[in-house]
């Protein structure tokens, strides 16, 4: 070790001076920009809302920030930059990494003086003077970074974080350009899988406690904790256990280094080769805003994107990792048609679409308009439903637009995702909220941290023992029986509270907006509630009895999902000509006459109405998988072939028209 070439003290100090290309314009990762944007926009909102403010000076610039803001936040609002790792605008401050040092002049114990402080822990106060760029501050930041890097493996070339790594960024902007650390670094087994989705590299961990705070404060499950102490500290799940949380993926995103990485994304590409496009997750009804990462036309990862009304910036694991099914080999990539032997065989689009239209025309002419039926989709877009309505009702004049959401009331929930956050008493009936309604769950954790009681009962009858009051928020799944909903209605109205049915699919109300299930609704009607409809059962009975001869099933699986599964399977095993659009084979498609392979959520565009009534429009992010087509294109083509040429349009234009027209005309 003695002969190792080393720096002299002089060159060291020279280098400190050289490596200070920093400040607010330094390159930032998406997450870093999101942090700053959040802080700045909240400050603006507070200014507008007349919230009490404090006034201070940062780098000579006066700034006014809402009371309770931290000094680092005031600095962001003033347009200054302070490097940080453990600070996160959605987590409580710990002051662990000590990266955010700046000079803060304040009055304490009657004395006014400036000292170097961790600005993520200090609340901004009137009259403070903050300096982020003095030589002392630079030296302090430099020193802390040198220590953070001391044991760091610096295996950036094979690190999935490289290129979007806050540690790399801070180092280039604030750090020492070289190391004086010549000792042996701490060694651990690298790439330790700690769950189905997450790998941990303890050598890269800087013990910022973001992931552990996320687990206890945001996910509320404390599935990740710190063990051991001092230099031996490491994060991990309970000894010998796994990190089985429905929100584990978020820790990958907030980890400021490559210590927690995704098994799915592992070595799928360098972050800078991954393009990111905005989209909406359709794995459940919550409608989380996501950024779809894609490389060479292939979806490689899903990250959270900020939407304060829905997912703040989080995703659940179902959304983060489940959307990989876009790449699944099981996807249908050619239309299927039932051949002379009754077997589904691949065919081309032209043949399949002709077969569909030919049969529709034949049925319409020979058996009347109502011998044709359509089933709306809850996973496709509102536009898809509208275009199907135009075909079946508009062209063929059938009134059989069927769809079944729930046996309960057909209305949007009173309890919105955001409102749950301030509830005092939350009662969950018969569902695993964390899995079924992830964003409702995360807000319930917030409510709980603010003192709310959160209880889960298995069955509606247990609700009687839940001490409901008029303040209670009762959350109910959309899968219960009619009598269950009656029981819940009775108990909650006695207590004077409401109950909210939360739908499960990405576009649970979409078909209503397109005139399905006897509805002719606009969003505001959904808030009021629609009257009951027997349309779905009527159509299913018609299919079962043979009165309905052609059924067009739009991206859904009535056999697998409708409440009266027996009736549905009877209906779909009758002789009718059934057309199903789908990404994957399912129970309804298995019995179909024609199956049309459609594009995934990432490959199509359109509008979704989420669980609590928020409309969101998205564009396609990647081209459709070869052989598949976006549903809206398929329906445009069918309309055209049926003699109803619609203007070629940008899918995002369809929506306003729909809402103006209120339905399928």
């Amino acid at each position: 070790m003695v002969g190792t070439p080393i720096l002299t003290r002089d060159s060291w100090e020279l280098n400190i001076v050289m490596s200070t290309q920093n400040g607010p314009d330094r390159p930032k990762t998406a997450a870093e920009s999101a942090d700053v944007n959040k802080v700045v926009s909240e400050t603006k909102a507070a200014q507008d809302a007349g919230i009490p403010m404090v006034n201070l000076v940062v780098d000579g610039k006066p700034v006014s920030v809402p009371k309770g803001s931290l000094v680092i936040e005031a600095a962001f609002s003033a347009g200054s930059d302070i490097p940080y790792f453990c600070y996160h605008p959605r987590l409580t401050s710990v002051g662990a990494c000590r990266m955010c040092l700046a000079s803060v002049e304040l009055e304490m114990f009657g004395q006014r003086r400036a000292s170097i402080m961790a600005t993520c822990t200090i609340p901004a106060a009137d009259g403070m003077v903050v300096k982020t760029t003095t030589p002392d501050v630079k030296k302090a930041q430099n020193g802390v970074l040198e220590l953070i890097l001391a044991n760091h493996p610096l295996d950036c070339p094979v690190c999935d974080r490289g290129g979007e790594c806050p540690l790399q960024n801070m180092t280039i902007s604030y750090g020492p350009p070289n190391t004086r650390f010549i000792e042996d670094k701490r060694r651990y087994v690298k790439a330790l899988p700690i769950s189905e989705h997450v790998v941990l590299d303890r050598e890269r961990c800087i013990t910022c406690m973001r992931c552990t705070r996320f687990a206890s404060e945001i996910a509320g499950d404390s599935k990740l904790g710190l063990i051991n102490r001092g230099a031996q500290s490491e994060v991990g799940p309970f000894l010998g256990g796994t990190f089985d949380s429905n929100f584990s993926g978020n820790t990958i995103e907030i980890c400021p280094v490559g210590a927690l990485t995704s098994r799915q994304f592992r070595f799928k590409g360098r972050p800078w080769e991954v393009k990111s496009s905005d989209s909406i997750c359709t794995k459940c009804s919550n409608g989380c805003n996501i950024a779809v990462g894609h490389r060479m036309g292939e979806v490689v990862r899903i990250n959270g994107r900020v939407n304060e009304q829905i997912n703040e910036e989080w995703t659940c694991d179902k959304g983060k990792f489940g959307n990989a099914d876009v790449n699944a080999p099981e996807r249908l990539t050619a239309p299927l048609i039932r051949d002379a032997h009754g077997v589904l065989v691949e065919t081309d689009w032209d043949t399949a679409l002709s077969a569909v239209i030919t049969n529709m025309q034949f049925v319409s002419e020979n058996y009347g308009a109502n011998a044709i039926a359509a089933f709306g989709t809850t996973s496709g877009t509102i536009e898809d439903n509208v275009l199907l309505g135009k075909l079946i009702h508009g062209v063929f004049s059938s009134s059989n637009l069927a769809y079944q959401l729930t046996q309960g009331p057909r209305r949007l929930p009173k309890a919105t995702i955001v409102s749950v956050e301030s509830a005092k008493h939350i009662v969950i009936v018969g569902m695993d909220l964390a899995y079924d309604q992830p964003m409702y769950y995360l807000r319930s954790v917030k409510a709980q941290r603010n003192g709310a009681t959160v209880i889960t009962v298995k069955t509606p009858s247990e609700l009687a023992g839940a001490n409901l009051t008029s303040e209670s928020v009762v959350l109910v799944p959309d899968t219960l029986s009619a009598s269950d909903y009656e029981a819940i209605q009775a108990i909650s109205s006695e207590a004077g509270c409401d109950y909210s049915v939360l739908v499960s699919d990405a576009n649970g109300y979409g078909p209503y907006l397109a005139g399905f299930d006897g509805a002719d609704a606009r969003v505001e009607d959904l808030h009021k509630g629609l009257s009951a409809s027997e349309k779905a059962n009527e159509v299913l009975n018609g299919l079962a009895s043979g009165a309905v001869k052609h059924a067009f099933v739009l991206a859904s699986d009535p056999v697998g999902t409708y409440a009266d599964g027996q009736l549905a399977s009877k209906a779909f095993s009758a002789d009718a000509f059934v057309v199903v659009t789908s990404q994957f084979m399912n129970a309804t498609a298995a019995n179909a006459s024609v199956v049309l392979p459609i594009a995934s959520f990432a490959e199509t565009a359109g509008t979704y109405l989420n669980v609590d009534g928020q409309l969101q429009t998205v564009d396609a992010v990647v081209p459709p998988r070869a052989g598949t087509r976006p549903q809206w294109q398929v329906l445009l083509e069918l309309n055209a072939r049926a003699g109803n040429p619609l203007p070629v349009f940008n899918p995002s234009d369809v929506l306003p028209a729909v809402l103006m027209q209120g339905g399928s005309e």
Binding site: M1, V2, I6, T8, R9, S93, V94, G95, A96, C97, R98, M99, L101, L106, M108, S115, I116, A118, T121, I122, P123, A125, A140, G143, V144, E146, L147, I148, A150, N151, R180, F181, E183, D184, R186, I206, T207, M209, L226, N228, R229, G230, A231, Q232, S233
Partner: protein
């Protein structure tokens, strides 16, 4: 004329059976508590203020200021917490006090509880101190039986409960906010302090008003009430801000190591004499005045007031600290002693903040390398720079305390480092041949 060593805490230290309630009461035990319980809480705080008492746990913060910060009512539960985590190397006084005079501690706690309007007290005792723990718990049990603890104590309408809480091996839990974390069943990591968070006296353990005081601080309260604050403040021969007596654990190379109650401001040379002087045939090389975190002091001057002000002024160490005075004679290998301390702090760092966790890990590796002959001259600058990156930047005072022995040893004994670097051994000590 040597300073007269008034004995307050240790007055009855050697009375046989003083650890039992009956003997303690026979020596006027619990008299001060009987008095305190009839006093206005603020009147007690006023006596403490006048007495000039400063915390005996290490930081030397005036006790009355902490106590005055409590809400002046009993709307919510207040907690009085005793820091008996004594882990600062060189400090052994709280152990002795708890073993020998457990009722003095209980009485001190009771008086303090009246002052801060607390009905509950937790004594946080380090895990190794099973014997002192049993001793204190036994005294508590006796005090319950005698009606000094429990409901409506002495007809005052007030309830008092004292619980012992055993730690489990973590020096950092002596840091008061880490102690609070530990008491609440968490990892012993420090918590945010003002201005980042409210004072513990407003929101401490379980978000309720709480204060942490050292064993000796609490045990001094009865003496203050007995003498009256003014009289107590007359004790002390040094700085006007260092009043009363203080327990010192004197260890290392002295003829009569032990724990002594010493009047603050007594000249250092006299303190040395009280412990029998540097062991025979040897001479003073350096010493640590108040627990390892204070750093090394030069062998001169000797005649200066040994108190809160005198020590930092005359030795450029951090100060009086916990009163753990460690004496080292010329046989001592200061590099090796420092190395051992660096490893100690490295082992005890809680790991929360980067400077302490990584800085000490690095220092420990550098010391190891130098000790085994791999030292380089530039390591000295490197060590200094690392200390600089820790100083004022660590989350709590452990990091700060860790670098103090390092920096002082570098300042005073740089040649010993160079000796290791150039010759692979310390040519300035006879280490390894410690004939006693």
């Amino acid at each position: 004329m040597p300073v007269e060593q008034t004995q307050l805490l240790y007055r009855h230290r050697d009375v046989p059976g003083i650890n039992r309630l009956d003997t303690y009461v026979a020596h006027c035990g619990y008299e001060q508590f009987r008095k305190a319980i009839t006093m206005e809480p603020d009147a007690i705080i006023e006596e403490v203020k006048v007495s000039g008492l400063r915390g005996r746990g290490g930081a030397g913060f005036p006790t009355h200021i902490k106590w005055n910060a409590f809400p002046k009512n009993r709307d919510v539960e207040h907690y009085f917490i005793v820091n008996a985590d004594e882990g600062e190397p060189g400090t052994a006084k709280d152990r002795d006090l708890m073993n020998a005079l457990p009722h003095l501690l209980v009485e001190g706690c009771l008086c303090s509880m009246v002052a801060v309007r607390a009905a509950k007290c937790y004594i946080y005792i380090r895990g190794e101190y099973v014997e002192p723990w049993k001793s204190v718990q036994k005294a508590i049990n006796e005090a319950y039986a005698a009606g000094f603890l429990g409901k409506n104590v002495l007809g005052s309408g007030l309830d008092f409960d004292i619980y012992t809480h055993l730690g489990a091996g973590a020096y950092e839990c002596g840091e008061e906010s880490a102690l609070m974390s530990s008491l609440m069943g968490e990892r012993g990591m420090p918590r945010l302090k003002p201005p980042a968070a409210p004072l513990p006296m407003i929101s401490g353990v379980w978000k309720r008003p709480s204060v942490v005081n050292n064993v000796e601080t609490a045990a001094t309260i009865p003496a203050i009430l007995e003498l009256g604050g003014a009289k107590y403040s007359e004790i002390g021969v040094g700085s006007p801000r260092s009043r009363g007596t203080k327990l010192f654990s004197i260890s290392g190379h002295v003829n009569k190591p032990g724990i002594y109650e010493i009047v603050l401001g007594t000249p250092f040379s006299e303190v040395l004499e009280i412990a029998g002087g540097v062991r025979d045939g040897h001479k003073l090389k350096t010493y640590i005045p108040g627990g390892s975190s204070m750093g090394f002091a030069p062998p001169t001057p000797l005649d200066y007031p040994f108190d809160y002000e005198g020590i930092p002024q005359n030795t450029q160490t951090l100060g009086l600290g916990s009163g753990g005075l460690m004496i080292f004679d010329e046989t001592t290998d200061v590099f090796k002693v420092t190395h051992r301390l660096v490893d100690f702090y490295h082992h005890e760092s809680c790991g929360k903040c980067t400077p302490c966790r990584e800085g000490l890990d690095w220092l420990s590796k550098i010391y190891g390398r130098i000790a085994s002959g791999g030292g380089r001259e530039q390591d000295i600058d490197l060590i200094w720079d690392i200390c600089d990156s820790i100083r004022g930047k660590s989350f709590c005072a452990l990091g700060e305390g860790a670098i103090w022995p390092v920096m002082t040893s570098l300042r005073l004994f740089r040649h010993e480092y160079l000796s290791y670097i150039h010759h692979g051994r310390n040519t300035y000590s006879d280490a390894g041949q410690l004939g006693a």
